[in-house]
């Protein structure tokens, strides 16, 4: 099976101080990989390195067989890497609809300012409204008027409008009601099966993450300390006790 994402010996950090130490990771296309670990383990840093927000000092990241090298974040988006950051990144001053349109605005380029090219984008936005009806009711409201859960829906929906092949999600369940968490997880699973979307899912909500993931990695102090089949990780009592706290 071909791996959509291959990470080898990735070392990265902030201001020359490494936070990640030699991370290895392989994620097959169309699967969900849960990234677990305590606060400060380096999960967010890993996602930031994958989407080009920070530059790895050593190591290799390959996406769909091609080395990503030094590609800037904007270019990685065009390759198909979508990143929903920690804290969601809803733009407070833009309306819900504008936030959603922005998710796919890069596809329009310089042309398509009017009319036809926008129609495709509008269709994608309409699909998001179907997935998350509460957003449709608030399409003209500015982002800062949304509740936490609505922001989460907006951030996820906005990423989907960009039609990513790899979706990096940083704690999407944070602050959501259990029922909405379950719905979100089910939706991710469905997207993977129907559209071969690949997801790297950072979660504190270990149980629900492992329940939909195909595989998982557990990080501690910037290293991968366990990796494998999601069900096996969930059943490993020692691992749960040492790193996952349940």
């Amino acid at each position: 099976m071909s791996d959509l994402l291959e990470v080898e010996g990735l070392t990265a950090g902030y201001h020359g101080v490494p936070v990640l130490h030699g991370i290895d990771l392989r994620v097959p296309a169309g699967t969900i990989c849960a990234v677990l670990g305590a606060n400060g383990a380096g999960k967010t840093t890993l996602l930031r390195a994958l989407s080009g927000l920070i530059r790895p000092s050593t190591g290799r990241i390959a996406f769909d067989g091609a080395d990503l090298g030094d590609l800037a974040t904007e270019r990685l988006v065009r390759r198909g890497i979508g990143h929903v950051p920690e804290g969601r990144g809803v733009i407070a001053e833009l309306t819900v609809e504008e936030n959603l349109m922005l998710g796919g605005a890069w596809r329009l380029g310089w042309a398509g300012v009017w009319g036809a090219a926008r129609a495709g984008l509008r269709r994608d936005v309409a699909e998001v409204y179907q997935l998350f009806p509460p957003l449709a009711a608030r399409r003209r409201q500015p982002g800062h008027q949304l509740s936490g859960g609505e922001r989460q829906m907006l951030a996820l929906g906005r990423a989907l409008v960009g039609r990513p092949r790899l979706l990096l999600l940083d704690e999407p369940s944070l602050g959501l009601a259990p029922r909405v968490v379950a719905q979100t997880m089910a939706l991710l699973r469905q997207l993977c099966e129907q559209t071969r979307l690949t997801v790297l899912l950072v979660e504190q909500n270990v149980r629900s993450a492992l329940s939909i993931a195909d595989q998982g990695v557990v990080m501690s102090l910037g290293r991968v300390v366990a990796a494998g089949d999601a069900r096996r990780l969930a059943d490993d009592a020692d691992l749960r006790h040492a790193y996952l706290g349940f």
């Binding site: 927000l53 804290g87 990144g89 733009i91 001053e93 833009l94 605005a105 329009l108 800062h144 906005r158």
Partner: protein
């Protein structure tokens, strides 16, 4: 009463230009948190180009077009070559660099064109047409109004109805999030400067024919008025810039008309001080939207 009407129209005409110029300041402020102190001198430079092109070709409108295009290019060049380097540095750096740019450009223009006032033609008759027996508004005034209104409509459509405008706003509000959504933030900033300089160039073409003529410092007082306008309206608010510009235009016109031309600059300063004391964020800055 006739005099009041006349002063009102005159104030609004100048105010329209201040609004446009203020809008250019807001454009750059929103994208970069820089007050572009070089904006006046850039508009002067493009007006000199228009002067040359019009002189050579005999066509006012060719010069007009050249000024707008030059504004677009000049704005982009200044951002790429100069202001880009002070982005992220302490704010004072950008101010000092911009003021340096003012001195350099004024010096160069003085060397090329000399430091005397050059006559700068208006494309339309500047004598007032009588409305109901009262000399009120000239064809040129109408041209100024029409152009500024058109400009505002075009800018509003650009920012609210087009994908490029959406990306520019996103880049200004939340650059790091915008980048994650594929927006080329650097390009949007360059485009913002180009647009602002184009608007500035347009304002120059509208206001210089109403003054003493073309001179390296011809836009200095316009800059001060527009700066007051954005302080009045709030640096973040395009609508505030428009209203602020009109307000400053009216105040200047009434004060100069009733108290004598010499007092007008003082009135602008007084307005500036009062607004800063009463509402430092500007009259039109809404409740600060919290970033998440």
């Amino acid at each position: 009463m006739d005099r009041f009407l006349f002063l009102t129209v005159d104030g609004l005409t100048h105010g329209a230009v201040y609004s446009a110029f203020a809008l250019a300041l807001v454009l750059i402020w929103r994208g970069t948190r820089i007050v572009n102190f070089a904006q006046g001198v850039l508009a002067v430079a493009t007006s000199y180009l228009a002067y040359t092109v019009t002189g050579r070709s005999g066509s006012y409108w060719l010069g007009f077009l050249a000024a707008l295009l030059a504004g677009l290019v000049l704005g982009a060049v200044v951002e790429r070559l100069v202001m880009h380097r002070v982005a992220g540095a302490p704010p004072l750096n950008a101010v000092i660099v911009a003021l340096g740019l003012v001195l350099v450009v004024q010096g160069v223009l003085g060397m090329i064109y000399g430091n005397q006032y050059l006559p700068f033609p208006a494309p339309f008759d500047r004598s007032a047409m009588t409305v109901g027996g009262v000399p009120l508004v000239s064809r040129f005034d109408l041209f100024v109004f029409g152009t500024v209104v058109l400009l505002m409509i075009v800018l509003a459509l650009l920012f609210t109805r087009t994908a490029i405008g959406l990306r520019m706003r996103a880049a200004a509000f939340a650059p790091s999030v915008a980048r994650l959504l594929g927006v080329r933030v650097g390009r949007m900033l360059t485009l913002g400067w180009a647009l602002a300089a184009l608007v500035g160039a347009l304002a120059g073409m509208l206001v210089i024919p109403t003054g003493l003529g073309l001179h390296p410092t011809a836009m200095d007082t316009v800059f001060v008025s527009a700066f007051t306008a954005v302080v009045v309206g709030g640096l973040d608010s395009p609508a505030g810039a428009v209203v602020g510009g009109m307000l400053v235009g009216l105040v200047l016109s009434y004060v100069a008309g009733y108290l004598g031309a010499g007092t007008a600059p003082l009135a602008v300063l007084a307005l500036l001080v009062v607004v800063l004391l009463v509402r430092p964020a500007g009259l039109f800055s809404g409740p600060q939207a919290r970033r998440v």
